[in-house]
Symmetry: C2
Subunit: 137 residues, 2 copies
DNA sequence: CTAGTTTCTCTAGCGACTAGAGGTTCAAGA
DNA sequence: TCTTGAACCTCTAGTCGCTAGAGAAACTAG
């Protein structure tokens, strides 16, 4: 049996965040002591680890909610879970592609400073001037 | 002389966003008509393009504010502008590195579905199980 | 002059937390 | 058993960068 602090230490999820997940309905409301404090079991520990893992992977809470609902209806086709993961993979790939363009751009800009004064600072000029970009963003 | 709608069409920045930038102090308060409507000149058009470009590159508004303040004090050393760009480049590189790890992970997870039922769906299992990850995140 | 578009301000909402106030409960040591 | 201090409770508000909507006023073309 874990207090919310135990759960927090074991999962690395901060206490207010645990309460927030409960409020969002992805972590079920814990049993309480006589004095109204939350007490958790291994089941919640596992679910919180699942949530944490999903969040680390960048899945929004709404998708996590979908996955949990799915896993609670074990005879539904797993098609949906697969779709959620695939869609997210696609989104991550797009983000990477965009960020790499930005990286090139920033490298160009950051290389432009010759240590002078702001009035002729190439960083500021480069940031002012969209036309110099080698790729649209 | 541009209305806020003109400015919006020319820069692709939505009208409420322009007003928001004014409120945040990175776009200076425009002149007004008798009837209190904003009227802009090319100077604001350019600044908005600058802001837009910075935002596209992912710079937070606070950094943009710093850069603008800097460009308004043209005899300050451009050292700070350079630092802002370099720091941001660093942050972008870190984000890319992290996202690539996530991509590998998601690819592994998304490949795990064999079309069965949710009760033995490998996507859900993979998401439950941190230990299977090939890289920490 | 009128009708329809644009603009105004103000407030509230998004997502995923995070921080703080002010009060209560728990657990360990004396 | 009592005390003390840590941990916990709820509630509200703040973060960031917008975005949406209400209701009213101003502009512009015919």
């Amino acid at each position: 049996m874990y207090s919310i602090g135990d759960l927090s230490r074991r999962t690395g999820v901060k206490i207010p965040t645990i309460r927030y997940y409960e409020q969002m309905g992805i972590l079920k409301a814990a049993d309480r002591t006589e004095g109204n404090q939350r007490r958790y079991f291994d089941e919640e520990l596992e679910r919180l680890a699942f949530i944490r893992h999903c969040r680390d992977l960048g899945l929004p809470i709404s998708s996590i909610r979908d996955l949990i609902r799915l896993s609670e209806h074990p005879h539904a086709p797993c098609h949906d879970a697969d779709r959620i993961a695939k869609e997210h993979l696609e989104a991550v790939r797009n983000r990477i592609a965009r960020l790499r363009k930005l990286e090139r751009e920033l490298r160009r800009i950051a290389a432009a400073c010759d240590g002078g004064e702001a009035c002729d600072c190439n960083v500021i000029k480069a940031l002012s001037d969209h036309a110099r970009c080698q790729s649209e963003h």
